[in-house]
Amino acid sequence: MAEMIKLFVNGVEVEVESGKNLIDALKVVGIEIPHFCYHPALGADGNCRMCLVGIEDGRPPLVPACKTPVAPGMKVQLDTGKIKKIQQDMMEFQLINHPIDCPVCDQAGECTLQDYYMTYDAQDSRMTVPVVSKGKKMDFGCGVVHDQERCVLCARCVRFTRLITKTGELGIVNRSDEARVTTFPGRPLNNRYALNVVDLCPVGAMTSQDFRFKQRAWFLTRDKGICHGCSKGCNIFIDHNREKYKDDIIYRFRPRLNEQVNGYFICDEGRLSYHAENEGRLLAARVDGKDCSVDHAVQAARKALGPKILMLVSPECSIEEMIAIKALADAVGTKLSGYSDGYIKAGDGDGWLIQDDKSANRAGLAKLGIDATKETFNGALNSSDAVISFNNDLFIHDTGSEFRQKLEKMKVIAVSTHNNTLTQNAAIAIPVASYSESSGSVINKDGILQHFGRAVQKNTPLADMTQIAGMLGSPIVTESDIASEMKKVLPSLTEVIPEGGLKLTESEAAHVPA
């Protein structure tokens, strides 16, 4: 915990953390200083002049709050007529050449320029000369579409490509009212985090090809989630909406700040992984190629359970689901394997957010002592005559071909979120809710335990994995049973999992394979 200091804002004493700049420090106590160019991950640039504040200590009349560290006894003025006039003037500058095309702009509803206009400006335009026209819907690459006219030249996107991804594709060319963001001819955006510039852009200049014109921002419900794209477990917002007469679907993922895990950003693959939540889903239960009710399929599966059935659990399952499935395996008296080498894409990770392991909860498998080695799996497969897979796609990314022939001779039961090669050839297929439609906890590759709640509510909700496990005969399915089981395997978990995730202790993390 940083040292707390006292300073005055508009004559009122507030206590803030030392070592921060005025924008960040005062934000914590609920005082907003308007700004365009400052972003905590990109540092203070001081180019937008929107955060100018007065300090009563004989320094120059105005200072940018983003570049001013808090100091004890500092007297900050935010509400004087002079500051208000400056803010209004800065807004007028920003809007001189702005097209004001909010009705067709994707950012409308979550636009800094709109918000600040209502708060700090609210005057009619005095401009009588034609606006400077610049490039529209420019394809910058990586699914980023740029509108130069909407841009306020805060340079957040430029700084992101230079400071964070170190690829430097973007630059501000020309000067004065002709200045604009662009790429060098033949060198478009080319990095795996490019779509973060869409979130960073305070206005509608940077839009995502994927999200453009799909949904107005104010219709979206923003629920917190954990990205299941890889073992990093980046924190995200799941923005979804149920349109009239339609089903609840996800329109986009956005990064959610978690200093412990992903900071302010997520990778593009993870961001676009929401498509897999909407498409290619297994929706109907099937027995011997015929659609049937889930109950019927579960009853058929239950009959097949016995010591000669091998249970296969996915590293994508939450801890809760794994606990229920493990209890089921113990009750049935059969082997449980977490073999899932297909989920590892060797060499794909970049040492930052993107990981080789494309499953969300492999550490959870280890925590529960579920064996995931190929040898054990192969041995167990040879001594079994049936396999029940809990969302583990053996053939994901075209792997597991050596088991294909063996499985063809066996009875396969697939409890799955998605249609895949395993469900196609399964004697019994049972659909389950995916991670956006259920809640649970996962442990990421750094040993951080994170909880996610249910976001999407389908018109016809699918049962989640713990319910299916319960229907199949698992003795541990109620929330309280699972919670007490979790506390047994995770001693540092005393109460609920905190918002930012729980870093497991050294000894606990030691069980986690690297």
């Binding site: 610049k134 430097g168 060319v173 004065s176 002709e178 790429t183 060098f184």
Partner: protein, 168 residues
């Protein structure tokens, strides 16, 4: 200032000739970082070719080891760098505050009519090219016109007429 971001792609590779190559290597030692070489390298290119193409900017960026976008920024920011071939007589009119207040528009309008050129253009015969530029640092004697690098101060239309007559 007009939009200078539409670079000309020649389709031919660019590199420094032997003399400029040596000069680049001599200069690079003078600076703490290699990025400092962006402006001198742009000058060297302009000295060699008379103007700066997209290929030249990419070459400079790769030679220095910086982002092409950064060299692109510098080349478009400073109007002294020519991003297309110039006329035999390159006329720059300052458009910054003092010159604007002291009547640069009359000069621009006169030249537009007389030469049939808009700022940023080059005549078909290659005799003249016109550019509106940012502050040339002669605010006390505004408006100022720069022809082939030479300053002509306190300009008006009459003075401009006699100046144009001397140009070939």
């Amino acid at each position: 200032m007009s939009d200078r971001s539409k670079l000309i792609v020649t389709g031919k590779p660019f590199r420094f000739d032997q003399e400029r190559d040596a000069e680049f290597e001599r200069l690079v030692k003078r600076y703490p970082t290699r990025e400092s070489m962006i402006l001198p390298a742009l000058w060297l290119t302009q000295e060699q070719e008379g103007w700066i193409s997209a290929e030249a900017i990419a070459y400079i960026a790769d030679r220095i080891g910086t982002f092409a976008s950064q060299v692109f920024e510098c080349a478009t920011f400073y109007t002294m760098y020519n991003l297309h071939p110039m006329g035999r007589n390159h006329i720059c009119i300052c458009r910054t505050l003092s010159c604007w207040l002291r009547g640069k528009q009359e000069i621009v309008d006169y030249l537009k009519n007389e030469l049939g050129l808009k700022p940023g253009e080059i005549g078909a015969d290659g005799k003249f090219s016109l550019e509106e530029v940012e502050c040339l640092g002669h605010c006390g004697t505004a408006p100022v016109v720069q022809v082939n690098g030479e300053f002509h101060e306190s300009m008006d239309v009459d003075k401009l007429k006699s100046l144009l007559a001397t140009l070939k």
